[in-house]
């Protein structure tokens, strides 16, 4: 696993710049439907995924670009997916909220809050079985937000994972808001208390510090690999940008600018940058710009999928559905 300070910086910075580029492409109309920017929360995806192996499995959320990139997805194919091109990770069929790359253990972003938890538990449990009970000792990671801890199915999934000692990390990205709802108005008790209720270790870490997240994740991953079951990690973080890019047009008032400005003073990219040399940083930054320039060029120059294939992949068996046309 790539987990040096430089690696952490590279991933954090890549996500930041990818998202900034993606937002531009939304404003340009290249990305239709908008995105949920991950800007500000990069340390979590970077830190957690640095503790993982290529064979490990992750699932993500509506705010999933960071996780998908941190687990190793090609930024070009990712951007092509956001632009709905046939060269995209999902051949343009999924878009921002469903980006997946099963070859890298990325079992997909998910547009339904809290839905990915149980899927991760099943996938991690099965990966063990497939490997004959030991083998790769695959670990699964489910990323979700503070809003998701109020979803029953996620809490059910935590119980299953703890009960069956499934090697899973439940990573809660607590950015203080579910769209416009504050954590205080959503969560009675505590988030870590939900993990404790099911008898799993639950800790809170500084989600703005890639290294702090990595350390916590590594401990939980080792525990899971050793067969000691799941853990919950609550990462305290903040969303710099809009809940979704529609906010850029239709401003909704739920947090004041000072709060945002204040939060921006703690920047995961800068925190991690301070741990490498300016020279190294410059090299990495330059490299990332090149990668993203190429990614954008690749995405915008890629073909749009043929409408004739709109229902391709609907059934894995290739079964064709009756069309909706009358005649």
């Amino acid at each position: 696993m790539a987990d040096t300070p430089a690696d952490l910086y590279r991933t954090t910075r890549l996500i930041r710049r990818f998202e900034e580029r993606a937002v531009e492409l939304v404003h340009k109309g290249v990305i239709v439907g908008g995105i949920h920017p991950y800007i500000g929360q990069e340390a979590i995806a970077a830190g957690v995924c640095a503790a993982l192996r290529p064979t490990d499995i992750i699932t993500s959320t509506h705010r999933g670009h960071g996780h998908v990139l941190a687990k190793g997805a090609d930024p070009a194919k990712m951007l092509a997916e956001l632009a709905g091109r046939s060269t995209g990770l999902n051949k343009g069929r999924g878009g921002s909220m469903h980006a997946a790359d099963f070859s890298l253990g990325i079992f997909g972003a998910n547009a339904i809050v809290g839905a990915n938890g149980a899927i991760t538990v099943g996938a991690a449990w099965a990966a063990r079985r497939k490997a004959g009970g030991n083998g790769e000792n695959t670990v699964g990671v489910s990323f979700f937000g503070d809003g998701a801890v109020s979803q029953g199915v996620l809490l059910e999934a935590m119980n299953l994972a703890a009960l069956w000692k499934v090697p899973v990390l439940f990573v809660c990205e607590n950015n203080g808001y579910a769209t416009t709802l504050t954590v205080e108005d959503a969560v009675a008790g505590t988030i870590t208390g939900r993990g404790a209720a099911f008898g799993m270790p639950a800790t809170t870490v500084d989600g703005m510090d890639p290294q702090a997240v990595l350390d916590a994740a590594r401990e939980a991953v080792d525990r899971a690999r050793a067969g000691n079951g799941p853990s919950l990690i609550e990462c305290l973080t903040y969303r710099y940008d809009a809940h979704h890019t529609w906010e850029h047009k239709a401003r909704v008032r739920y947090r004041d600018n000072d709060e945002v400005a204040q939060a921006r003073n703690t920047d995961p990219v800068e925190i991690q940058a301070a741990r490498i040399s300016p020279v190294e940083r410059a090299e990495i930054d330059a490299r990332i710009e090149t990668v993203l320039d190429e990614a954008v060029a690749f995405a915008v120059s890629s073909p749009h999928p043929d409408p004739a294939g709109a229902l391709d992949y609907l059934y894995a068996t290739g079964m064709r559905a009756r069309s909706g046309g009358g005649w």
Binding site: V32, G33, G34, E81, G84, R85, S86, N90, G92, R93, G94, G95, S96, M97, H98, N110, A111, I112, V113, G114, G147, A148, S150, Q151, G152, A178, T179, T180, L181, D185, A186, V187, V252, R253, Y254, H304, P305, P307, A308, G309, A310, L311, L314, Y315, A321, R322, S323, G324, G325, G326, W327
Partner: protein
């Protein structure tokens, strides 16, 4: 006369009912800041006791509303995305809907489930583009699908006043519709009474929700070739069978355009009921989503899966050709 937008009509219906009846309250996600616009101003006007922002616990707050209704209140739930109506299917179809019969009529469950922006919105992909009104009609939950601002106002008001659970789908494709209306003319619209938007003699086109506007455009386009009657049931359950039969008995031809999947969608029900009760001069036709449709993200693919005007034109030409 003022221009009334569809969204404003929903907002006005909520405002009027909250003002009229102290037992009415609204709950849902991000409704205080009114992310969907539909609840704009309600929090300031009616306060925290009657406008509740909920955690992301759709199943619990849907049954919370059932309980509140059993205790005598009239909750209105706003759902942020249409597929949440899958998530709470148990709570509505197996709980709220069944209380009246199972208790021998001891109680009522007057809950309104409002889905502003049902169906495909641009670029929201597979899990945010569903239009599950046929599912609710099938289980027998009263289901409303207004096409115009005045019907949106009138049907939402009626839904809130109804003593049974009612699901109100406000199609994303209709939210932009505006209408010149004198606010004083806004009235409750009864459930189960359809509306003929355009009279015709050759063929009855039944259009659901936002597709009413596509049907009207097509009828206009084809006016020289065929006299098309556009029938809008407005509520898919209960359905205005008498109104439909009357129209089809006159025209003898039937085409349905419906944003549901094909198999066992409302279009199928409409054709089946007509087939049982009328002799048509030509086989009926329907334009729907494909079987098992999942909306792909890429816009061209998304559009290719939705019922289109072109398909409607072809279907109409098809039934006109026959008989």
């Amino acid at each position: 006369m003022p221009r009334l937008s569809y969204q404003k009509a929903l907002n006005r219906a909520l405002t009027d009912e909250l003002a009229r009846d102290p037992d009415v309250f609204v709950l849902g996600e991000d409704i205080r800041v009114a992310v969907s616009n539909v609840t704009a101003g309600l929090f300031d006007k009616f306060g925290p006791e009657r406008v509740l922002d909920t955690p992301l616990s759709e199943q619990a707050f849907t049954s919370f509303a059932t309980g509140a209704a059993l205790a005598g209140m009239r909750p209105v739930i706003e759902f942020q995305i249409p597929s949440l109506l899958f998530l709470v299917f148990e709570q509505i179809a197996n709980q709220a809907h069944k209380f009246s019969l199972m208790t021998g009529g001891q109680c009522t469950v007057p809950v309104t489930y409002l889905v502003p922006g049902s169906g495909s919105r641009t670029g929201w992909a597979g899990q945010h583009s569903d239009h599950p009104y046929s599912l609710y009609a099938h289980v027998g939950v009263k289901t409303v699908l207004p096409a115009t601002p005045t019907d949106a106002y009138g049907l939402l008001v009626t839904a809130i006043r109804d003593d049974d659970p009612v699901v109100v789908f406000a199609p994303a494709g209709a939210l932009a519709v505006r209408e010149d209306v004198d606010y004083a003319d806004l009235q409750p619209v009864p459930l189960g009474v359809g509306r003929v938007h355009r009279a015709g003699t050759d063929v009855t086109v039944v259009a659901l929700g936002h597709l009413v506007h596509d049907a009207l455009a097509v009828a206009e386009e084809m006016a020289r070739d065929a006299s098309i009657e556009v029938f809008d049931p407005r509520t898919v359950y209960p359905f205005d069978w008498d109104g439909l039969i009357a129209s089809v008995s006159k025209t003898g031809r039937l085409v349905v355009i419906d944003d549901s999947n094909r198999t066992s969608g409302m279009a199928g029900e409409i054709i089946a009921t007509v087939a049982e009760q009328c002799q048509l001069t030509a086989p009926p036709a329907r334009v729907t989503r494909p079987d098992g449709a999942v909306l792909p993200f890429a816009l061209d693919l998304d559009r290719a899966v939705q019922p289109s005007r072109a398909q409607l034109v072809t279907a109409i030409q098809g039934v006109m050709k026959d008989g």
